[in-house]
């Protein structure tokens, strides 16, 4: 009987499958196309005459003697110093993730266990901060940063990203800690632990699923950021995303769009890997906020 709900007329299954396959195509084709095209020359990547050029690499073969070329990647990573941007991105994302998780875990725990009314004020204020476009706050930094002479450096961008990350991290960790029974740390308190010992001994061992999930999103926020890194970092410290946007200005004029295409694919690959390995955590993170409402 239970399967009556699941029984579907073949027609419905057919239409639904078709729709799902269409969505798969819409979601995945742009990436497949760009990754494939990044190994061609520009005349193939943008070939108006016939799309077989892009698929077969006709012009690429004519120019380089092979249907595939790593020219775009060489140009981006070696000639225009994309490796330095990748290094900056690595530094920024690692520090932002670690620091925002530390701050957010402590804060989220306090919010989940406190019984005072002011915790709602903090939570609602955090939600309002989350709603403000980042750039409105960034426009408030720039002038003080110039005045203090700290504009342009990686630590500056890291601190700013950590702060902008806090509202989200606090909410995620808050709702995660709400799901951990209070008895766990309260029994430790009864046994004579201080609050911090209770947190370290009773909570830390069980909090890792929540920390990993929140950490993934903190990582993505830092990795995907353009607003802060684009305005706060100077040219030598640029991370990958502002570096790509700088390609759009200069390189298009020089006719080397393929550097930008190669850089774009290089930025996308870590995201593919992240989704591949952490799919379960990402889905649980996306739905965690929803269940809490």
């Amino acid at each position: 009987m239970a399967d009556a709900v699941n029984r579907r007329p073949p027609m419905v299954v057919f239409v639904a499958s078709g729709f799902v396959l269409l969505w798969l195509l819409i979601a995945a084709f742009p990436f497949a196309w760009t990754v494939w095209g990044s190994f061609k020359v520009q005349a193939d990547f943008f070939s108006r005459d016939t799309w077989w050029h892009a698929i077969l690499g006709t012009n690429t073969t004519r120019v380089t003697g092979d249907a595939f070329t790593g020219g775009g990647y060489y140009g981006a990573w070696v000639l225009t110093g994309f490796w330095r941007a990748a290094l900056s991105t690595a530094i920024v994302t690692v520090f932002v993730t670690v620091i925002s998780l530390t701050f957010g875990t402590l804060g989220g725990y306090a919010l989940a266990r406190s019984t005072h009314r002011y915790r709602f004020v903090i939570l609602v204020a955090a939600l309002f901060f989350r709603a403000m476009p980042e750039i409105t706050v960034v426009s408030g930094y720039l002038y003080p940063f110039f005045a203090l002479n700290i504009w342009g450096y990686l630590p500056t961008a890291i601190i700013v990203l950590v702060a902008l990350n806090q509202p989200f991290t606090l909410w995620m960790m808050y709702s995660f800690f709400q799901g951990i029974p209070r008895d766990l740390d309260e029994s430790a308190l009864v046994d004579g632990c201080t609050r911090f010992q209770a947190f370290r001994l009773a909570i830390v061992p069980v909090m890792w699923p929540g920390v990993i999930t929140t950490g993934l999103f903190s990582f993505l926020l830092a990795y995907n950021d353009f607003t802060v890194t684009g305005l706060v970092l100077n040219e030598n410290n640029q991370t990958m995303v502002p570096k790509i946007s700088s390609y759009l200005g200069q390189i298009q004029a020089q006719g080397n769009v393929m550097y930008a295409v190669a850089a774009v694919v290089s930025v996308a690959i870590p995201i593919f890997l992240l989704v591949m390995f952490f799919q379960r955590y990402l889905v649980s993170g996306l739905t965690a906020g929803a269940v809490k409402g």
């Binding site: 239970a2 009556a4 709900v5 299954v13 639904a16 499958s17 729709f19 799902v20 798969l24 819409i26 979601a27 995945a28 742009p30 760009t34 943008f46 701050f103 957010g104 402590l106 804060g107 306090a110 919010l111 266990r113 019984t115 915790r119 709602f120 939570l123 609602v124 204020a125 939600l127 309002f128 901060f129 709603a131 403000m132 476009p133 750039i135 409105t136 706050v137 960034v138 426009s139 408030g140 002038y143 702060a163 806090q166 509202p167 609050r195 911090f196 995907n224 353009f226 305005l231 995303v241 790509i244 759009l248 996308a268 591949m276 889905v283 996306l286 739905t287 929803a290 809490k292 409402g293």
Partner: protein, 344 residues
């Protein structure tokens, strides 16, 4: 938990938010009241025996630099920046209303004022992308719920990528396909049989492609959340509805959707917040001529070749935060009420 312990746990996070979110709000309010110093001009009159006198105006570079150094914030301008042509432009609007003939003329002339142009796109984007992405996401969720198990894993994998991809990068990938030299752009030209149709020349096409990008990148979030919600739809109610003879669509309308209602509100809130800050796609699509957003206006005031227009950026920021407050505060108050009645 005693106040002191709470403060010790909360401290780092609170300090970070106060210093780098709350204080900058104060900073933009202050900055918005100032305006960059004008250049110091020297007017000198040179007279020649037979040529008469000519007055020449030159910029006194050292005096300008000195003035800027003495008062780096600029000169006090009160609310002047808010009312100038680049912001609320009340005087221009009065002028337009006085002289314009017809509603169409009023609309098109107000649309030419930078802030209103940005506002028009931001609001349109928000109001179109949010429902489109939610409907598409719900449709995918319902469809995925129906298809054989083996399809579900790949669908979730490939759906997460457009959503989690760096916005600037995702938008570029679509832009390269949609611009006049890309595969989809060329297809659009063939369909409309117009070889000159491109995002560079056509404002409606630019808006349409930006909205298509927004839907593409936002739909997966709705899909994932709604798909999780579908697993929790009460089976008894579904069975009861079936026994009562409800059709497939009626079951969706009267059982599934009501049980998804809290999720729909959650997705709506998150999507409105995210879509209101639309920014990167405009850079990727190189769309500033045809479509700008409030965030993009602030960025372009700050990212200038010469002097950064802090006052202008700050005024736009304050106006933007004002809009957010009007949009979000009612929802926030509701959440605050729910939290304090213990439902959180």
């Amino acid at each position: 938990m005693p106040h002191s312990t709470f403060l010790r746990f909360m401290g780092p996070s609170l300090i970070a938010m106060l210093l780098f979110i709350a204080l900058p709000i104060v900073s933009i309010v202050v900055q918005s009241l100032y305006v960059e110093h004008p250049q110091v001009l020297i007017t000198s009159e040179t007279c020649q025996p037979f040529g008469g006198c000519t007055t020449t105006t030159t910029v006194d570079a050292s005096a300008t630099a000195q003035l800027r150094e003495d008062e780096p914030l600029g000169q006090f301008n009160g609310l002047g920046t808010y009312f100038d042509r680049n912001h609320l432009a009340f005087r221009e609007i009065r002028e337009i209303l006085r002289t314009a003939d017809g509603v169409g003329d009023v609309v098109s002339r107000i649309y030419n004022l930078p802030l209103y142009k940005a506002l028009a796109f931001t609001v349109t984007y928000c109001l179109l992308v949010t429902p489109l992405a939610m409907i598409l996401g719900l449709m995918i969720a319902l469809a995925v719920n129906t298809v054989p198990q083996m399809l579900k894993g790949p669908v979730i994998f490939f759906s997460l990528v457009p959503m989690l991809i760096t916005p600037l990068v995702g938008a570029l990938i679509l832009f390269w396909m949609l611009n006049s030299e890309g595969i989809l752009g060329a297809a659009i030209q063939n369909i409309f049989n117009d070889p000159n149709l491109s995002t560079r020349t056509s404002a409606p096409l630019t808006w349409a492609t930006l909205i298509a990008y927004g839907t593409w990148t936002n739909a997966p979030f709705s899909f994932i959340v709604f798909y999780a919600g579908l697993q929790a739809v009460p089976r008894d109610t579904l069975e009861a509805a079936m026994i009562d003879g409800a059709s497939r669509l009626e079951r969706i309308r009267y059982v599934v959707l009501p049980s998804l209602k809290p999720l729909i509100l959650f997705v709506l809130l998150v999507q409105l917040m995210d879509n209101f800050r639309v920014f990167e796609p405009i850079i990727s699509f190189n769309a500033a001529a045809n479509a700008t957003s409030l965030s993009f206006l602030i960025y372009s005031s700050l990212n200038t070749q010469t002097t950064q227009l802090f006052g202008s950026a700050a005024a736009t920021s304050v106006i933007t935060i004002g809009f957010i407050a009007v949009l979000i505060v009612p929802i926030l108050l509701r959440i605050a009420r729910e939290l304090s009645t213990g439902r959180g």
